[in-house]
């Protein structure tokens, strides 16, 4: 069995990404949708790190992107949860299908 390398990592990250997409599309609960988004972000991070390690080992840029993405993801999660709580207060539900006023 060959030494795991870039392709293996890319396989994992792609799989994780589409697991996240699947979750985003099928879940009804807003919190679980948020979880799916976190999975997607993680897969992207994994990609950055893998490319940095295998393709440009003399640089640290991929790493920085990961750090920034983590920071932004943290902010996003905080805002998303604030929105979810607000929605829960107004709709008494965090089912995404109940919040469909957008169509009006």
């Amino acid at each position: 069995m060959m030494q795991p390398g870039l392709y293996h990592i890319l396989f994992i990250s792609t799989a994780l990404f589409f697991i996240g997409v699947f979750g985003f599309l099928t879940r009804k609960n807003l919190i679980t949708i948020l979880m799916s988004v976190e999975l997607i972000l993680n897969s992207v991070n994994l990609n950055f790190i893998a490319f940095n390690k295998y393709l440009w080992p003399e640089k640290l840029d991929g790493l920085f992107f990961t750090i920034f993405i983590i920071a932004i993801a943290a902010a996003e999660a905080a805002v998303a949860i604030a929105i979810i709580i607000n929605l829960y207060r107004s709709h008494h539900s965090i089912d995404v299908d109940n919040a469909e006023e957008l169509k009006y």
């Binding site: 879940r27 995404v96 169509k103």
Partner: protein, 648 residues
Amino acid sequence: MLNATYIALIPLLPLAGFLLLGLFGRKYFKNSSGIIATIILLVATVLAIYTAYTYFFEVGKVHGVYQKLIPLKYTWLEFSKGVSIDMGILLDPITCMMLVVITFVSLMVHIYSLAYMKGEERFATYYSFLGLFTFSMLALVISSNIFQIYIFWELVGVSSFLLIGFYYDKPSAVAACKKAFIVTRFADLGFLIGILMLSFYSGTLDFNTLIERLTSPGSTELSTALSSSFLGISALTWAMILVFIGAAGKSAMFPLQIWLPDAMEGPTPVSALIHAATMVVAGVFLVARLFPIFALSAPEALQLVAYVGAISAFLAAIIACTQTDIKRVLAFSTISQIGYMMFALGVSKYGGENGLGYTASMFHLFTHAMFKALLFLGAGSIIHFIHSNEMKDMGGLRKLLPITHITFLVACLAISGIPPFAGFFSKEEILLAAWQQNTIIYWIGLLTSGLTAFYMFRLYFGIFWSKAPSLSDSAHRKHHGEGGFAMMLPLVLLAIGAAAAGFIPFGNFVSSDGKVLESEFHLQLSIAPVTFGLIGIFIAMWLYKKQNDKPDKIAASINGLYKLAWNKFYFDELYIFLTKKIIFNLIAKPAAWFDKNVVDGLINATGNTTQFISKKIKGVQSGKVQQYAAYFLVAAIAIAVLFIYWWK
């Protein structure tokens, strides 16, 4: 010396009154609005008389010729060099005369309305409309620019529309005001085209320049205007005919007279204002204003003016003999008298002795304003008492309404041309002018004068003599009275005017070329009209002084003619036929069809298509975020596939 501010104030004061009462009258001056408007107009009247006095006796005459003064001129809108719409004041004899006539009659109407319109719900609105009307008419007569006159011409139309339709909850009043507006507006179209043609050929809109350029022989403007022709008539004549159509519309000349009788739906003082001093004489004034062009450069158009005037005078007099509604009789008599003024202008020549018609026409305008206002106000006082317009409801009122009776009699004598009342002098001059120039028109005028005397005294005897007053009327009198001081004062003042205005040596003041015109008194020529007038009066007396069946018998014996006249020669029916059957069916209906099916159809098709498509794709916009995400994902994958494998 003339101060332009005073003159400008004459029209601006009523305007201020209109704005004040129109904006705040209903709330703040509900009862005092009449007094306010009357005081404002009193000031304007004093200013107008002062202006006229200054003009006629101090500044107007230079070397024995009355000048056309322009004390104020303000260029408002310049189209090109020389062609501009100005707001200015032009003072000449007819302007000064009109200023006095309008302000005086309007003041009388204001005072009269204090009592007549008392208790009216829209009292303040009424006075504000009166102010607007007076303003536009005054501004019309002082206009120094032909476009300025057109602007105020239309304003007069609008304000008369408002006044005729004052009782807007009455369907007949609504129909009447629409009719008046549409007919005059239709005629104004001719006026507008006439203005455009005149300004095109003369290169100016200013009256003085316009008249000067189009009358001085040999000027390039005149020769172009005369040389270009259409249907064998020169362009200038066409222009003047078009202008005259506008004037005929305003003055209710044949065949555009149909609106005037219906305009009686307005309050009676308004009828006095419209028919005596203002709106209807605007047409005469316009022809007089442009008289030099008519007389010197477009004599064919002037011929038309003469014949239209004569026909109107005669036909209206015949119709007036059969009407039973007193206001309508007066309306037709107005048309008839305006016809007199028109044909007097029409038979006149420019300058010197031959310009007698012009002077006579203006003279008649002046005297007519007096006695016609008096007649209408008297009629108003009768209607106020009887609450009916119909002659059959009246009779024997001479004891019940003594002041009205006397003043009405004075007015009837004046309009019939019995010496020494005002109408005699002006009518005599008109007939003299016609005698000198055109015999046919002279005979028509003479006949009309007899008819005038007949129908006026038919009215007079019908109202004040005929049967004995009914008991209820006498009882009515006790608690009602004749109408109070405010209604009687204008009657008396106007009666004095109607009796004495004839002694003014009018030729000294108004003539076609500004020079003094010595009008001679031709005794042998004044015999005929007076005789005709007296014959008319006696026939009327014989028929109507006592209640009897003679009039009915006579009417029955000339049944066809009577019916024809009673139905106003079926002019209304003719117009209805023309508009309903021909214009509506042949033009309006196809146009409506086109509009409904083609224009609307296109618009509706656009709308329907949009609606159809949006209905079909409405389901896509469910508001469910995940659905959107799914579309997004599918589309992203599809685009990726497309770009990777298709367009490599």
